[in-house]
């Protein structure tokens, strides 16, 4: 099971946080800080898996992360998940974002965190992996966006495309 999915930038600013376990807002912030602290001090060429921080469950949990440009994508998972599988999932996630946002960059995530959530919801559901096929994910996301567009007022839609 996946316990949390965090995206933050090189300075530790959260860009997306998705907890599949309940924590108070304060704890969530602490977890983000702790995770950032753990992940950011690691060298480029070391392993992408490490033990989770104390707040998120300690050594029973693993942090699996990838660092893309200015962003860290971190998945906190228990021992039922394969590290390489999750690493691959992160790649699928990022590639999907890249397709959906056309050249995704940090700013896209900053301004459209809701869209990122919607994409993530097609991949992971309640801490379990729902879909790993990028084409399927994009198809479902697109279909929902289309539906949304057909519902939205014209003046709103002009406001929403960034």
């Amino acid at each position: 099971m996946i316990r949390a999915i965090l995206i933050f930038n090189n300075h530790g600013k959260p860009r997306l946080s998705k907890f599949y376990e309940h924590y108070t807002e304060d704890t969530e912030q602490q977890i983000i800080r702790e995770t950032f602290h753990l992940v950011s001090k690691r060298d480029e060429n070391v392993c992408n898996f490490l033990e989770g921080g104390m707040l998120i469950g300690g050594s029973d949990y693993k942090l699996i992360y990838r660092h893309y440009a200015t962003l860290y994508f971190v998945f906190c998972v228990d021992s039922s998940e394969s590290e390489l599988g999750i690493l691959d999932l992160i790649q699928v996630f990022v590639e999907t974002l890249d397709k959906c946002f056309e050249n995704v960059c940090e700013l896209d995530l900053i301004f459209h965190v809701d869209k990122v959530h919607n994409i993530l919801a097609e991949m992971v559901m309640g801490g379990m992996v729902l879909e790993t096929n990028m084409n399927e994910i994009i198809m479902q996301v697109d279909a929902q966006n289309k539906m949304e567009k057909s519902e939205t007022f014209i003046f709103q839609s002009t406001r929403q495309d960034r």
Binding site: H11, S82, M128
Partner: protein, 1000 residues
Amino acid sequence: MALKIVKGSIDRMFDKNLQDLVRGIRNHKEDEAKYISTCIDEIKQELKQDNIAVKANAVCKLTYLQMLGYDVSWAAFNIVEVMSSSKFTYKRIGYLAASQCFHESTDVIMLTTNQIRKDLSSPNQYDTGVALTGLSCFVTPDLARDLANDIMTLMSHTKPYIRKKAVLIMYKVFLKYPESLRPAFPRLKEKLEDPDPGVQSAAVNVICELARRNPKNYLSLAPLFFKLMTSSTNNWVLIKIIKLFGALTPLEPRLGKKLIEPLTNLIHRALDLLYGMVSKKNLMEIVKKLMLHVDKAEGTTYRDELLTKIIDICSQSNYQYITNFEWYISILVELTRLEGTRHGHLIASQMLDVAIRVKAIRIFAVAQMATLLDNAHLLTGNMQRNGICEVLYAAAWICGEFSEHLENPMQTLEAMLRPKVATLPGHIQAVYVQNAAKLFSTVLKSQEGSTEGTAAQETSQLMIDRLPLFVQSANLEVQERASCILQLVKYIQKLQQKEVEVAEEVSALFAGELNPVAPKAQKKVPVPEGLDLDAWINEPPSESESEDEQPKAIFAKEEPKHSRSRHTEVDEKELARRREARKQEQANNPFYIKASPSSQKVYQESPGVEHIPVVQIDLTVPLKVPGLPMSDQYLKLEEERRQKERADKKKKEKKKRKEKRSGRGRRHDSGPESEEDITPAHMVDIVTEEMPETYILPTPDNRLLTMSSTSIFLFFFIEQKSSKHKKKKQKKEKEEKEKKKKKKHHHHHRHHSDGGADESVQNGTVEDEEPLPVSMCLTLNHKVCDIQGNLQDGSQVVVSVIFENKCDSLLKSMEFNVLDSLNSKLQRPEGSGPHDGFTVPFQLPPGVSNEARLVFTVQSIVMPQKMKGTLTFIVKNEDSSIHEKLDFKLHFTCTSYLITTPCYSDAFAKLLESGDLKCSSVRLEEVNMPFHHLLARICFHHHFSVVERIDSCASMYSRSIQGHHVCLLVKTTVSIDAKCDEPTLLGNVLDEIKQTFSQC
């Protein structure tokens, strides 16, 4: 009512949406908390309105604030309201908010049961989907109990999209309401065989989670999972199942046996992957790991598999990834220690290949082979049964052929004449005998040169003593060679007794270097004048005759068809056919080195190439380690070498940085105020917001790398408004790109003015009246690398970017960032995080331009690449500042990896004949320009140099930063035949050339 809606809509226009909120927060760094608290007040107002759109917008913003750590549970009821909207857009916002902040003790959750039930049964699959997703995050025991039945029904929904979600959420339901497991399980099990892979995967997921908690209960599913494991292609499912079996096997030992086969299949697949994964950098490491596995492997089949894989990996694409052949020889020698391998001949052929083709390695190889011969008894313990003694074939041949490199030829000679050799297979003995003769000649030469005459005679005596053993051999080849050589040596001995110096003449027997010959070598030997190879020597038999003789004649089948017109004129077709037949024959003839397919055309037409080609692989070998090699040594040395390089580089950079820092101090730079977040390291720099009085160009020391002589330019002009004054000869594609960028930029800017903050009006006018054109001129250029010393760094690309400020405001805090791809990475300045943006070390007052350089490391250069990036900067006016962002693409063409390298025609010819180059050609349509213009254009745009020009064609050459050779033959008919050792690279370069000419 209608009025109300209109009024609501108008209200909405003045609301902040999520983007405005985010922007506002970013613009209020100093008093973020205060700003957010006003925003929350606004949101509270919005939530009080009746308009659901306004509410949804407010809830959307709350979701964002929740991520920043603000408690938004007070709005729980409003969230439920938004969830209940009939519009999917709002429903989704509501469910997202709920999933982010609802939990078991949220009391309004009780109110949602009916709404969720309604959504679950909605005719719109996405309403259902959104509800399931939300529910998976905040399901409580009550909800689980009340909705378990509804969800169970959904597990058989017609849409796979719903089915997979329903299946997956069942796990959460089981956790909260365990009683539901028993009734739901049969259906869940059924879903393991669902036709949709997504549903299947979800079912596997759920059962694996369940089984992890209590494996015993799921043992009965093992056969089903076994079937899935062998049939599924979904990696995710495979991983899950293997994990599950990991939990099940301790309970059922028989399972382990069954799993061996599919699991080894998976391992083999992994080995195949390795093949594609290796690079110059990791080859040694990977092979080291594989060698460990070889040592540990139990079955010989698996060990042999590993062995062939190691050799495959190392030898692929002409040893492309091997940087140190001493290491490779050592690996091969280490592999000979494998017991019972069937692949002795494979190792042997590799040894021969490398020793022949890599001249520089011969001394080392010979020393290694001598050691092997010396220790032959270790290999031949039970030689007849295992194939490893095949390596002695290679060892003996190498020691004989390159005997001049032997340190102690006498010792090797003795080793080759040991009686035990007679137990080796015949063909190996034959090679031993022949090469003993070669060695003998070398030994004679050295002994005659020295003072003692008797030594030479003793050597002859040794031969005469030992050879009779081989003369008696049952193997004809051995016997024949041995008796020939025995007689020869006896004769030599006679001469020696008369004190005649024979060494010169004996060595003449084996004189001449044996070089590998290219497949086309024969063709390059000119046909003597007057000799017509296609003419008949005798009159061809008549048709009737041939028919009569058909059954007897060997070639009869082919003859009749052509016999008539044959000897006067031979038509083209026939010639082609014969050529083909000859090629076939050559291909089957071991004395020809095999041709690479389709490389013929270029040779035929390339002018002035008369040489008999010789394969040249000159690889300098930097290291020499005496003694029996351990491949690990090389790995260590290699690491040390790389580390040292890194350290050197770092040192240099540090130095530069220091200088840079002091330079900055002088300049009173206001420092890079990074996009938004300030880390302590940056803090020191941010002293003042003021614009620098004068602008000082960065000194050359600030530059990351000095430019090489070759460079090409890529222009990106990015402007906000229609560029009437820009009538540039730019290709359409780029213009389109531009427009896109413009558009993006535009939007972004407008948002800003929407921002509702004080500057909005002003910005609006600024934007309307005066465009803010920013022109970026990107220069791509490459560092020429010393390939000999340092193969790894033939991978740096330097990009010079000229920033020009065309607006009336100061531009500052420019940060340049690129999304690294697997293949290309931006080299960040030392001190910043590995993926930080590159802070442009200057500010741009209005009208000023300056240049910054970025270094990229590129791994593979065979494909062109586009890198996406963003430039963020702050536009500072007198009383406001705006954050701006430009998206851009960096296009690394394959051309940009080429370096103009002069090449002499004879070297060029040799290169063409080497047979290592792949061939390709292209026609340029509608090019009307003088030939020399055409050539000049290729030289200029694509970094080629003209090797030779003869009448209607010209040969051109260029070299990539990683040392690929690219050869062109350009004809006035504007066709280009090209050759390169990397077909992909060649294809791309040709495409680019074609494009260059399609633009003119």
